[in-house]
Amino acid sequence: MRTVFLASLRTHTRRYVAAAIAVIASVAFVVVIGVITSGARAGFMASSGAPYRGADYVVDAPKDGPSRGPSCCPDTLDTSDAIELIDRLGDNASGLGRVDLSAHREGGAPLGSGESGGMTTVGPIAAAEDLRWQKLVSGRFPVRMGEAVMHVWDAQAQDVAVGDRIRVGEGATATELEVVGIVVSPTTWTQASMYVAWPQYLQWRDQPTWHVGSVAVRGEVGPVQEGMRVWSADEYVRNGLAGLNNDTDMIALMLVLFAGVALVVSVLVVANTFSILFAQRLRDFALLRCVGATRRQVLGSVRREAAAVGVLASLTGTLIGAGLGYGLLPMINALAPTTPMAAPAPPVPWLLGGFGIGLLVTMVASWLPTRHVVAVSPLAALRPQAAVMHTATGRARLALAALLLVTGLALLGMAMIMDSMVFMVAGGASVFTGILLVGPVLVPRLVRVTGALLGPAGRLATENAVRNPRRTAATTAALLVGVTLTTAVLTGMATWRAALDEVNARHHPIDAALTSLDKPITSDLLDRVRRTPGVEQAIDVDGAVAQVTGFDKPLPVLTAPDAGQVARDGGAFARVEQPGTIRIDLSAFVDPSIRPGDQVTVRVGDRQAQLRVVPLSGWGKAGVVAPDTLAQLTDAPEPHAIWVRASAGADPLKLVDDLEGLADAAGAQLDDQLQAQAAANRELDILTWSVLGLLGISVAIALIGIANTLGLSVLERARENALLRALGFTRRQLRRMLAAEAMLMSVVATLLGTTIGVGFAWVGYETVVKRALTRAVMLIPWPSLGVVVLTAALAGLLAAVLPARRAARVTPAAGLSLD
């Protein structure tokens, strides 16, 4: 059988390529996730783990015990205990901590500028070289009192060079330090601007912020005081990693879920490929059986073929994944510098896992098809042409599907009533599995209906597409998975975003507000604001500048009957119906002493009114009152604010920048909601696109599946296609027929997937979104869904390109003489 196995593998290599690509893509996906997760960990080790790299043990204070550290830093070590420990261990200990001190140059100028000007942080540096975690850039490490090294960032920012002298501390503890070196140190809680030798550090032990958080120890620690905890260095770092791990593990888990989806799709594609390949080779198997191969021999041979494909594809996928992963790390570092990534040692468990999963996927996917192989009777070889297997969809299968559908729908109903995510996921999975099971009945019907739209020209394509219901169903199923999830995500996100927008519109009705206290707004300023690109509408708002109790600065008190022109909520916020109230955007003030419901006195000139505060937000530092109230306060209201509504496509950063310029020139102040919202929207966008990108991998694999099915069907139908050519079909017609077939499959899968996806999104909306945002309304993003359907149709066409070219190459004569 070895000859047969090897020869089959050699002969059918090209036909296995597509199946292999599906496996390669999923395996590479898993491995990339592994490399990046490990990279994040390695990045953490390289930064936060650095102080402990040369240590055997770490001593720190337990987080849950009574606090023994200084009052600034409760979770740190008792200072005298720490000092005693470090004194006892000498060069084998490296204390880790910091102290905040004042810092001045020679001549008394404060070091640095801005808020932290005149201040610095000083940390100890280990005496033993292998416990030092700072890296020297220039100069040397401090060895005696009066010497210090400075972090390169601070040195650059404060223009300090080796040889400079800095006076650190005040009064009795003030010391002149000579900068003897410049260092870099990774960003950890132990990072300081300057580092000094331990005895020097001890000098400030009575400063309020002086602390020792932990001690890294080389060799044995010996007995320690109560309230000290001894860790092995490895364990300590790993424990510190746990916090980060929770995050990266969550992300990795999410990614693994997507990888799982890709794997399921791969199983479908690979299983389908094997079924088709084996169906085509039915006569080979039958002949083998005739000449004396037992079932077991035939089965063994095809299983070994599958295993060979699995091993090769998984190996390739692992290598490609590792390559991609290591290639992505520097890119992530460049794009997101706040997440340090380091090239990790090969993450062996992930690599092996990826390889194993690939092999498993292939074997699982080939299991059923290979079982069908052995069912072939030797007589099949004697029949002139192996009949196309019309596999009837079993009653058992349909019954199971019905059961799953009913249970699933019931679960989804429960989920909506009880707001239960668990029921939702279980119900969704159950319904979807049910749909996949009825696929062989459902999909061909849908194909027929859709095909009817193509008219008589599409009839052949339709007939071909439904010829083998199970095969068509399996092919479309792979795409169905990806499209359903994509649609559900798109719709869910659109609904979520619409809900957020609605909340924003209520809470932040005005996009931007220019407020002027000193002088009224000029009509010229209003014109210029209106002319600013990105401004849809702007109105001036009348009012008067008032003193309001509780606010130390004067406040414009406005009334805005025209607010509806610019407000996102239609101006509802500005319609103050009850006189006697004032609406104030409390969130616009840093520390308002006024609480909602307080009575305040509003004074304009010599008039005043007692008003109750109603908090609303979104129009900046101004109060909104009823027109009557304003009339009560002043006879001559003047415009003191301009309210702006941004147009839909406006670039928030630029618009705010422009308005800021106008406001500054006019001595007015600008409050805006645009930037905050833009940031929130961007996050949502990034999330949506990441999810879509990840699902894209599954969709791509599914499209490979369509190309594969079509390609193999073309081989199978070479004789028929040749006959069609002989009967007068042009090459172009033949190509079109195949393209139509591919499109039918992809469009049906997409339409079905879109419908199910929207349904799932609706359930999700009822279960999750509505609970979080009660006023949320289901929103179906028709344009996006249209793009999905169109993309799928085009991708279907693309999938047909190669098979169609191949089919068209067969000359009529060659096709007819094939056997």
Binding site: V4, A7, G292, A381, D819
Partner: protein
């Protein structure tokens, strides 16, 4: 092979059938392909089974060759009652005792001619040693395809394919060689060559051959002719 019932009289018989019936379908749709066949196939003879389409000759061959289960009656090949064998045992029996030449699609497309010829030996788990190779070459030589052994079926003519198939059928020295319309796809010259090879195999190698054909010309090469009609031997 578990039950080996040998009788003295059967020493001279390669195969025999007794009361063989085969029906397909149920009720009204029932078709009687074989209606009680008694047949003895003597060793070393070239027997042709003739008859028009639908006469049951192919069914008879399938039952004799253990490719199909009879509905009633017994088939004994090389002293073994085929009805007593399960699928695996039957497969191994076929491998060791029966050779086939079909009308078309005789060869596995991915194997070379030589690989196809030695395939039955390989399936039996035998090492393809020098002797086996030698025998394959001798057979190929006799059949006139020695120079085509490295080629794949697609690169062989129809006649060459059939001769490679005969070589493959002969390599195990089977008790019985079945040929199902072996010349159905061939022109008359090539047909004559293939039939001549079959006849020489019977005469010179003592090979028992059963050939199913509907061509009178082909049947003329055989030692005996059995004619069938409506599931009976006439």
């Amino acid at each position: 092979m578990t039950t080996t019932t040998r009788h003295a009289t059967q020493e001279t018989l390669a195969a025999s059938a007794r009361g063989l019936t085969k029906t397909y379908g149920q009720g009204d749709a029932q078709v009687h392909a074989l209606r009680g066949i008694d047949l003895d196939l003597p060793r070393g003879r070239f027997t042709a089974i003739m008859g028009p389409s639908g006469s049951g000759k192919s069914t008879l061959m399938h039952c004799l060759a253990g490719l199909d289960q009879a509905s009633g009656g017994t088939v004994t090949v090389a002293g073994t009652d085929l009805g007593s064998l399960d699928d695996d045992a039957l497969t191994i029996f076929r491998r060791e005792h029966i050779g086939f030449v079909f009308q078309s699609f005789n060869l596995l497309p991915m194997l070379t001619a030589l690989q196809n010829i030695v395939l039955p030996l390989e399936l039996g788990g035998r090492r393809i040693d020098h002797a086996a190779r030698q025998r394959a070459h001798t057979l190929a030589d006799t059949l006139g395809v020695a120079d085509r052994l490295g080629h794949r079926p697609a690169e062989l003519s129809g006649g060459q394919q059939q001769r490679v198939a005969i070589a493959r059928a002969l390599i195990t020295q089977p008790d019985l060689l079945f040929a199902d319309e072996p010349t159905g796809n061939l022109d008359s010259t090539t047909s004559a060559e293939v039939l001549d090879h079959l006849r020489r195999s019977a005469r010179e190698l003592g090979q028992t051959i059963v050939m199913v054909t509907h061509e009178r010309d082909a049947a003329a090469y055989a030692d005996d002719v059995v004619t069938m009609q409506d599931g009976r031997i006439v």
